[in-house]
């Protein structure tokens, strides 16, 4: 029953994706060219890279709202490192390290401090974004070495950007990890019933800590790519991304109550999301209107299963 319904969700997403393709190629003659589609991938790769570990975290029954703030903090750290004259490798390492550290702080608050993850990450979201503002104020950092631009602007082969290749690599790794390993099974178990998992010998808190650290690390990764692509850092960088990243995960069929979800769904959702953003851009619809769409989609995605499941019996 469960795999079948999951499959249905994913085939629905695939159908939406096909419809989007047909719609946008009908609207704009430029849509179906390799260059255009290659450009379109930049609309989702960075966000989708954070959505992968966040999906694991949400499947395990936790949430991290601080991801966008971590991106901002890591970007500021990289800007400062660059101002100190660090090389490209060093700057990237600083970004990853900052992300990992921030993720570990979240993990420690939830596991050692026993703070519910929503509150803990609302707190750290304020803290990290606040730190970015405190350090930068209204300044902009943009003295990045030329070679640093490779991560976000470079191409691997032909129209395949480095960002896209990295996302594909990560998506496959996460898919294998979640669906094919013992650790992946444990993550589902924790999300479905943390107490039972603990009695079954799963070190629940170690998993939680590791997942928060992982989400932090990948937020740092997204910060490297985004900063490299933009070539500058403002404290408001990636503002509001937490909404879009969480929407991607939930649109991908990951249950907000934990215990259910698949990487394939998240990847499809990321593609759907990226194409919609790009398509609306083609139609000259401003980003803020796009947020109406995002918000409605987010609510619909959780509301539809609730409406459908209701006649089948109360969930509680």
């Amino acid at each position: 029953m469960k795999p079948a319904s999951l499959l249905r969700w994913e085939s629905m997403l695939a159908l939406v994706l096909v419809l989007e393709f047909i719609l946008f190629s009908a609207i704009s003659p430029y849509f179906l060219s390799v260059d255009t589609l290659s450009d379109a991938t930049f609309n989702f790769t960075e966000r989708a890279i954070v959505a992968l570990p966040l999906a694991l975290l949400i499947i395990a029954g936790e949430i991290d709202i601080s991801v966008a703030a971590i991106i901002a903090l890591a970007s500021v750290a990289m800007g400062l490192a660059s101002a100190e004259g660090m090389g490209t490798g060093g700057i990237a390492a600083v970004g990853l390290g900052t992300g990992l550290l921030a993720g570990c702080i979240n993990g420690a608050l939830v596991t050692i401090g026993r703070v519910p993850s929503i509150v803990a990450t609302i707190g750290t979201m304020t803290l990290f974004r606040g730190a970015a503002y405190a350090v930068l104020g209204d300044r902009v950092l943009k003295n990045y070495p030329e070679s640093f631009a490779t991560f976000g602007q470079g191409y691997l082969v032909g129209p395949v950007s480095i960002e896209l290749a990295l996302f594909a690599l990560f998506a496959i790794s996460f898919g294998v990890f979640l669906h094919r390993t013992r650790w992946g099974r444990a993550i589902f178990a924790i999300g479905a019933n943390p107490v039972a998992s603990r009695f079954a010998g799963v070190p629940v808190n170690q998993y939680r800590f590791a997942l928060f650290a992982l989400t932090g690390l990948f937020s740092g990764f997204a910060a490297v790519l985004l900063t490299s692509r933009l070539g500058s850092t403002r404290p408001s960088i990636a503002q509001g991304w937490e909404l879009e990243i969480i929407s991607m995960v939930i649109l991908g069929g990951v249950s907000v109550w934990g215990g259910k979800g698949s990487i394939l769904g998240v990847v499809l959702a990321a593609l759907v999301f990226g194409l919609v953003t790009f398509g609306l851009g083609l139609m000259n619809i401003p980003g803020i209107v796009m947020s109406i769409f995002t918000g409605t989609l987010l609510i619909l995605v959780v509301a539809v299963p609730a409406l459908v499941n209701r006649p089948l019996g109360n969930q509680r």
Partner: protein, 329 residues
């Protein structure tokens, strides 16, 4: 039951008292360093600066009490503020009454929409309000077509209302005082308030004793939304400008004030006095930053530190209570 209720209340009162002492200590510390800080005029200014935060945080407290959270509160405020500004531009001579009613009702409806989704569909509050947050923000853009409504497009009465002075305080401050007083009295005395605490403390038990926990959530969201709506007008009139991004991210300050004021995110615990103190605490820090020579950009960071300290402490307290309960059971 009555023993439990009494002990819970005394716990609340004890924490409020301790936090009041802390806030007073902060205030005295700043005053000793900068004697001008305690000047009546400065204090009136501080209250005026904190008034909107107080009203919003009280609304947010109701939502958190019933195990919800309203991330859309600042977007609701901004949308109703824009609505008020546009209404005033089209019918400038209508006076302040219709504007207040309009914002109260529209804010209430926006809040009720959140509440309905949480109550009837049992959707997670954080996802619902994250969604409505961006929907309401986007709606401002549609309403204003991205344009600003500036001071010269607002009528005199519209701008003057929150600034009217009475006994040395602005009407805005008085509004916050009245709202806070109503909350303190109603939360102590009214039956609906008891139901609210019960629904947040233990929804299952509340259901068995005839309280519809979902309906309580709906009521909390609606009141919270209505307060946010009126604050939208007050915000726009006070800062004399309306645009898409006003109060962007302010929901975090509001939630910070609640958490600092001792409202437990798990529901069922919190008091109006604590929340008002939490707001004043933030207000004192905010207005003393320039005195100490720290840039205003540090405000958010300090809020983050204080939120984390508050939630770490309250997590410890909750655990302590739980162990006692488990030992007794």
């Amino acid at each position: 039951m009555s023993v439990l209720r009494l002990s819970a209340l005394s716990g609340n009162a004890r924490r409020d008292l301790a936090f009041a002492a802390l806030t007073l200590a902060l205030f005295l510390g700043v005053t000793i360093a900068f004697p001008g800080f305690a000047a009546p005029r400065n204090l009136a200014g501080l209250l005026d600066d904190t008034a909107i935060l107080i009203m919003l945080a009280l609304g947010q407290m109701l939502v958190i009490l019933v195990r919800g959270i309203d991330l859309s509160i600042a977007a609701n405020l901004a949308l109703c503020g824009m609505l008020a500004a546009v209404f005033d531009r089209v019918w400038p001579g209508m006076g302040i009454g219709p504007v207040l009613v309009l914002t109260l009702v529209s804010g209430g409806l926006l809040g009720a929409f959140n509440g309905l989704l949480v109550w009837k569909l049992r959707l997670p509050p954080i996802v619902v309000t994250l969604g409505t947050m961006s929907i309401y923000r986007g709606a401002i853009y549609l309403l204003s077509k991205g344009a600003w409504v500036n001071e010269n497009e607002m009528s005199r009465g519209f701008l003057a209302f929150p600034r009217i002075e009475f006994l040395g305080l602005t009407l805005l401050s008085w509004l916050a005082i009245v709202v806070a007083a109503v909350f303190v009295v109603v939360l102590r005395r009214a039956r609906v308030a008891r139901d609210l605490y019960a629904a947040g403390g233990n929804p299952e038990a509340a259901n068995y004793s005839g309280i519809d926990a979902g309906r309580m959530q709906f009521i909390a969201y609606t009141i919270c939304g209505a307060l946010a709506g009126v604050c939208g007008y007050l915000w726009v009139a006070r800062f004399a400008v309306a645009y898409t991004d006003i109060a962007l991210g302010f929901e975090l300050s509001v939630i910070a004030a609640c958490l600092i004021g001792g409202v437990a995110i798990a529901g069922g615990v919190g008091s109006a006095v604590g929340v008002v103190l939490g707001c004043l605490f933030i207000g004192i820090i905010r207005s003393s930053l320039p005195l100490v020579g720290i840039s205003a950009f540090w405000q958010m960071f300090i809020n983050g530190v204080v939120i984390l300290l508050a939630v770490l402490l309250s997590a410890r307290q909750r655990e302590f209570k739980r162990t006692i309960l488990e030992v007794r059971a």
